[in-house]
Symmetry: C2
Subunit: 341 residues, 2 copies
DNA sequence: TTTTTTTTGAGTGACGTACCTCAAAAACTT
DNA sequence: AAGTTTTTGAGGTACGTCACTCAAAAAAAA
């Protein structure tokens, strides 16, 4: 049987009240007594029964996801997953809320974050680009004792507690090495498509991709990234231009969203070109692409895992308990048609 | 605030005791009353507070892992992981025990399983080959109300509640398709190595591998599996014979354990042969192989995930609650040096 | 209708922890 | 040594559920 507070009290030769004062850092206990209690805790290997504790303090963890709006399939899937996971999380005394902020408006985002300080949340999960305003807002949150984690998109230069997601450079490298192998020593050019290179992930993926591909395979030329910035016409124009300029395009790499659109634009060229198509993020569309063979590989991360992990990490931070690194590590998943499941 | 039993009692116009009788399926309640209570539960959306319930009934889940002995790196890693996870599981009122049985002795295994019936365990997790004795023992366990799940190695024709692991045919198919792509239209032979074809996984992996490889790539000949049955000499002999007979071996596929040994035996041939090496299970050794480039791909499953999932599923079965399919799905992981992490 | 059986209500004491009060004891000041 | 302050103890109530008892009420059987 696990030791209880009563066992600690007996072992330390003090009363229950004193043990309680020590455990919950309440004032009015001498240093010597505190040490005596801590020694007993140590010796008996006492660990507080968190579910009993949460029951007693009638606690519900209040967590908020702050996401930038956007209607890419990835964003949809993310929001949906949060919704689903939140349902189950409720059973474990967690109230999860989602707040959407317009993209490209750091002030708005910062205002939202500030608004969370006065006891709307005990923990905040953020997916947004890093800007000075955000850095500032995160510092404030932390100063108010609110746990902060970023998901999918890292915020490395902030006071955040944790990042839940994958290393984008490694993800790009993985894409690069698969491109190299799937190209089979053929010579030619690789098209890279990105909605915007403002997001750190896009840049880092491209970085890793180039490193893995060019380094060991100089016969390949990786073309400059085509950025389409939410403008379908620009995408179409640029892709058309690329195929007009080069007739030896043998691979395409899409570093972020836009697969749906891109696939359509690409279709007419696929008859003449034997293309290796590598994309990121497993969504409805990339899934279909894998199934019908139009996409060869998808590099992704398990969104469900990301969301669940985010909540576990937030709770651990709030409770000041250890996190299980092995469980919280997000893997870079390589998905082919065969292991799509 | 979540509704409590008291709210249900009030809403249904009955006493607490009656609600309790209904909730815990105790006798002495009329059908009409049961329905009234259930209606109230439905309407208020009541869900039993499991942590309060477990606290009250002073419950600790007793789970037993039954594994066949063996000193492959995979088995070691599995046992170690169970050990680790069990530590954390203790905080959630789960007492996890591991029982090892000698391989190839179905009677012993069956006896062990029978021994678990009389209240040693509420749930049993099994990794062992399926035999009539095992089927029988599992049926008995189930009849005694004990939850049974298999892990890693499926037991499809038994009364088990659940299987935690990957589809071996799909895993083999994944290996096959990667072999095909990495071979880059070269012609030649592929060596397949397996400790034993007695285990269903080995057979299924091979099946999937052949299907993916041969079907779309008939220029390749996949050689008959070399079985070494825990005999290093036999492995060495057979590998040597294979390389003596064929000078166009361009790929090797190891369907299970033996990578450590095989790598050593293979080493001298690697200078003359440009080989694609695909293996299963990410262990210390295959990890090192990926790192130094001697292994190209490892197909694996996250052992930590498997073990944690096993415990969650067992608990869900015992509690008769839903399992979160998305969370419990074990993925077929493709591991390259770049995404090893 | 009376008797028997079944169903229901009211209540109690756990489980392990939190959080509170009030009085007593111990530790300090002067 | 007296007073003051700090520290400690004893006790209670609560959280939401379980598991039980005993008596009362309702339903079914005679």
């Amino acid at each position: 049987m696990r030791p209880t507070v009563n066992d600690i009290a007996r072992a330390a030769g003090v009363s229950l009240a004193t043990v309680d004062r020590v455990l919950n850092a309440r004032p009015g206990v001498r240093k010597v007594t505190i040490e005596r209690v801590n020694k007993a805790i140590e010796e008996l290997g006492y660990v507080r029964d968190l579910s009993a504790a949460n029951l007693a303090r009638r606690r519900t963890y209040r967590f908020v996801f702050v996401l930038t709006e956007g209607d890419s399939q990835f964003q949809h899937a993310l929001r949906e997953t949060i919704e689903e996971v939140a349902q189950n999380a409720a059973r474990e005394r967690m109230a999860v809320e989602t707040v959407l902020v317009p993209p490209g408006d750091p002030h708005h985002l910062a205002r939202v974050l500030h608004g969370l300080e006065d006891d709307r949340a005990e923990g905040v999960a953020i997916m947004a680009p890093e800007t000075p305003h955000v850095r500032d807002a995160i510092r404030h949150l932390k100063e108010n004792g609110i746990a902060v984690v970023s998901l999918v998109s890292d915020l490395p230069n902030t006071d955040q507690d944790h990042f839940v997601g994958i290393d984008s450079i490694a993800a790009g490298r993985t894409a690069g090495v698969l491109m190299r192998r799937f190209l089979c020593k053929n010579k030619g050019k690789v098209l890279v498509l990105s909605n915007t290179m403002i997001l750190r992930e896009s840049v880092e993926r491209r970085l890793g991709f180039d490193a893995a591909l060019i380094e060991s395979y100089p016969e390949i030329e990786v073309l400059p990234s085509i950025e389409w910035r939410d403008d379908p016409d620009r995408l179409e124009r640029n892709v058309r231009a690329a195929f007009a300029s080069y007739d030896d395009i043998i691979g395409v790499y899409v570093t972020g969203s836009g697969n749906r659109l891109f696939s359509r634009v690409l279709a007419p060229y696929r008859q003449d070109h034997d293309l290796v198509y590598i994309a990121h993020e497993l969504t409805e569309h990339t899934r279909a692409g894998l199934a019908d063979g139009s996409i060869d590989v998808v590099i992704t991360q398990d969104i469900g895992h990301v969301v669940r992990s985010t909540l576990r990490v937030l709770r651990a931070k709030v409770d000041k308990t250890e996190i299980d690194a092995a469980q919280e590590r997000i893997r870079i998943d390589i998905v082919l048609r065969e292991n799509m499941g």
